[in-house]
Amino acid sequence: MGQRFAYSARRWLYTTNHKDIGILYIITSLFLFAAAGVLAITMRTQLSAPDNNVLTANVYNQFVTVHGLLMIFWVLSPLAFGFANFVIPLQIGCRDLAFPRLNSMSYWFFLFSGVMMILSFFFGAAPDLGWTLYSPQNTGQFSPAIGFNLGAGALILMVVSITMSSINFLVTMFKMRAPGLKLRYMSVFPWAILVTIFMMLYAFPSFLAAVVLLYVDRAFGTVYFSSIQGGSLLWDNVFWFFGHPEVYIVLFPAIGIIADIIPTFARRPLYGSKYVIGSLVAAALISFVVWGHHMFVTGIGIASTKLYTVTTIAVSLPFDVIVISLIETLGFAKLRLKAPALFALGAVANFIVGGITGVFLASVALDYALRGTYFVVAHFHYIMVGASIIGLIGGLYYWFPKITGRMYDERLAKVHFVLSMIGFQVLYFPMFLLLDMPRRIVTYSPQTDWGLLNLTATLGGLIFGGAQLLLFYNLYRSSRVGPPSGPNPWDAWTLEWALPSPPPPHDFDVIPTFQADGTIRFGSGPGLPNGLGHSNEIGNPNGSSISNKTSPLHHEGLSPWPVLMAFAAFIFFLGLTIGKPANPQPVSYQPFWPLIADGVILGIISLFGYSRETFTVHEDTHVESWPFKQVPNMKLGIWTFLGAEVIFFGVLIGSYFFVRTNDAAWPPAGSLFEIRNGFAMTLVLLTSSLTAIMALASARAGNRNGLIASLGGTLVLGAAFLYIKAGEWFSLGASGVFQNYSLPATSYFITTGTHGVHVFAGMCMTVYLLAKAIKGKYLHGDHTTLEHFGLYWHFVDIVWVFLFPLFYLI
C-alpha cells in the first residue's frame, strides 16, 4: 500500500507527460471551480433579499473579487488548457509538447499561484475591489491589507505559468505537427488553441507589467497609480489592453471544442470550417484594438470613443460567421443528442444572447447608461459561464472516455444539462432586467424593486450550483466503475480517437502521416478520414498499428525539478508579499527575508539540478513545421519569449511616456539623472554585447581561450553596469529622491530596476556558461546554448538602448 502510494505520488509530482499534466490541470481547475462557485452562491445568498446581512461589506467585496479572479484565471483557462495538454499532441500527431519539463513547471506555477490567491484571505483581507483591480483603490492607501500583496504575487506567478505554457504550445504546434498536417488541415480546436496562445503571449505581458507596477507602488511607495498623471487612466489602459483579449482567451477554446463536437454528433463536416478559422484569427487581431470600449466613461477623447466603437462592432462580425457556420452545420443533420452535443448547443444559444448584448455596449450612449450595472454582469456571464463553462463541460463529457477509458452515465449527464441550463437562465436572465442596479453592492434598500429579481437569480444560482454536484459525482463514479468506452465511442474523426482509450504513455508507436486525399496513415496501415469533409466514411480506428506497448521515449519522463522550482518561486513570492507594513504613509511593506532566502536557495538548487539532469527531448526532423522549418525548437521558443518581453518592456516604457506626456513639470534632462552615468552604462553594455557575440564566434572557431575571455568579459561588463547603476541609485537615495517618490523617480526606479534584474539574470547565465566553457564545452559544434544566451543578452542591451535617451537625454 505504502509502496503504491509512493509510486503514485512520485508519478504525479514528477510527471512531464502531457496527458498526466492535462489531467492535473483539469482536476485542479474543477476543484477551484467548486471553490469559486461556493463564493458565488454565498454572494447570491447575501443579495437574495434587501438589507440582508449574511456577509459584511468587507467580506462581500473580497468574495466578489476572488470569485472573479479564480474563475477567470484559475478555472476557465486552466480547464481549457487541461484539454489542450491532453488532446493537442494527439490531434497533431506528436508524442509530447516541445518542452515537457517546462510544461510540468507551468502546471506547478499555476497550482502554487492558486494556493497563494486563496491564502490571501488569511492575511488581513484578500483583494476586495473587483477582478479589474481598479486604481487608485488598488494602492496601499485604500487597500492596505497584506492579503492584497499576496493576490498580486499570485497573479505574477500565474502569468509566469501562462507565458511558459504559451511558448511551449506555440513551438509544439508550429514545429511538431505530423508529416502532411499543414496548418490549413488542422481542425478548429487546435486552431482555437493556437490563436488563444497567440493572444495570451501578447496580452498577458501587459497584465504582468501592470501588476509589477502595482506591486512596486504598494511595496516601495512609488506613485504610478496614486498620481493624477498616471492613476486610474493608466491602470485602465494597461489592464484592459490585456483584459479584452482575455475575454477571447477564455472563450476561444470553448468555441474550438464546440466546433469539434457539433460536426461529430451531427455527422457532417463543419460548414465553412476555413471561414471559422479565419474568423478566429480576425477576432484575435481585432481584440488588441478594442480595449478602449471599457473606458468610455473615463473621459478619453471623442476620437478614441469613435475608434473603439467601430473596432468593437467590427470584432463582433467574425463571431457572427462562427455562429452561422455552427448553425449551418446542423442543417438537415441527424443529430445525436448525447451530453457533449447538448452542452455544445446550449453554449451556442447562450453565446448568441451574450454576444448580442455585448454589441449594445459598443454604443457609447448605451454604455454610459448601462456601464457598472447588472446588465453588464449578465452580459459577461452569458459569455464566461453560458458559452465558456458550458462549452468546456461539453468538452469534459466529450473527452472523458478518451481520458479515462470509461463511459460516463449518460442519463445523469442529461439531467445535469437540463438543470444547468434552467439554473443558468434563471440565474442570469433576471440580471438583464436589473439594469439600474449597480454591480458590486453588498445590499440594497427594500424601496427598490430589485428584491424579486435578485431572489429569482439566487434560486437560479442554487439550481445551477447544485447541478454541478451531479457533474462531480458522475465523473468520480464513472471514472471508477463506468463501462469501458473503447477507442472511439463517438465515431469521431480527429486523430486522438484513433488511439486506445486511455492512450498509451508514448501516444504513438508510429507517427501518423496526413495524406493529401484527406486520410491519416500509420506506417503502411489503412487510412482514416481526417474529419475535414474530404470523406464521409468513418475510418476503422483499429486499423492502425497502435498498441499498448510502452516506448522507451517516456521511461525516463519524470523530473523532480519543475515542481521544486515552482515551490521555490512560491516561497520567494510568499516572502516578498507577506511582510508587515514598514511605513504607514505612503504605505510600504517590509519583505519577510527568511522566506525569500529559502526561496532563493531552493531555486538555485533546483536550477542546478534542472540543468544537470539528463532529459532528452527528441526533435523529429520529418515533421510539418511551416513557417519555421529552418528554426530549431529552442531558438523559436527563445524568440517567442523575447516577443513577450517586448510587450512587457513596451508597457513599462509606454507607462513612462504616459505619465511623462501628462506631466508638465518634468525636470529637464540631466537635472535628476546624470548624463555621464547613463553614457558610461551605455558604453559598458554595448561592449558587453560585443564580447557576448565574440564568445559565440570563438566557440564556432574552436578557440577555447577566446571563448573564456569573451564570456569573462561579458560577466565583468555586466557587473560593471550594475555597479554604476547601484552607485547611481545610492547617490539618488542619499539625495532623498526615493522618499515620497515623484513620477520621474517612480518611472526611473521601476523601469531601470526591472532592466537591472534582467541584467542580473543574464549574469547568472554567464556564470553557468563560463563554468561549462572552462570544462571545454561549446567548442565542438555544441554552441547553441551560447547562441540562445546571446539572443537574451542582446535583447537586454536593446532595451537599454531605449532607456538611455528616455531617462538621461530627454
Binding site: 519555421f628 523559436l636 513577450a644 511616456f657 548624463i675 553614457f679
Partner: protein
C-alpha cells in the same frame, strides 16, 4: 570567414558607439521640436543593428523576423492608441 565575421561585429560596435556619441551631443545640434523624434530614431537604428547582426536576424528566415515584428507592432499599438486617448479629440 571567421575574420570577416569578427570584422563585421567590430564594425557594428563602432557604429553603435558613434551613434551613442551623436545622441549625447545631439541637443546642441537639433532644435527642440525634432529632438525627441531624432533621439528615438537613433535608438531604433541601434536596436536594428544589434538585432540584425548580433542576434543574427538578418540571416534568419523571414518568418522569424516577422514573428518578432508582430510583438513590436502590438506594443506600438498600445502606446500609440493610449497617446491618442490623452491628446487627440479632447474639446
Amino acid at each position: 570567414m571567421a575574420m570577416n565575421t569578427n570584422y563585421l561585429y567590430l564594425l557594428v560596435f563602432a557604429a553603435l558607439i558613434a551613434e551613442t556619441d551623436i545622441e549625447v551631443n545631439l541637443s546642441s545640434i537639433i532644435a527642440s521640436n525634432a529632438y525627441v523624434s531624432v533621439l528615438l530614431g537613433i535608438a531604433a537604428t541601434k536596436a536594428i543593428l544589434i538585432a540584425m547582426f548580433y542576434q543574427h536576424l538578418k540571416y534568419e528566415p523571414k518568418s522569424l523576423s516577422s514573428w518578432v515584428i508582430i510583438g513590436l507592432v502590438i506594443a506600438s499599438l498600445l502606446m500609440g492608441l493610449s497617446f491618442v486617448q490623452l491628446h487627440v479629440g479632447h474639446p
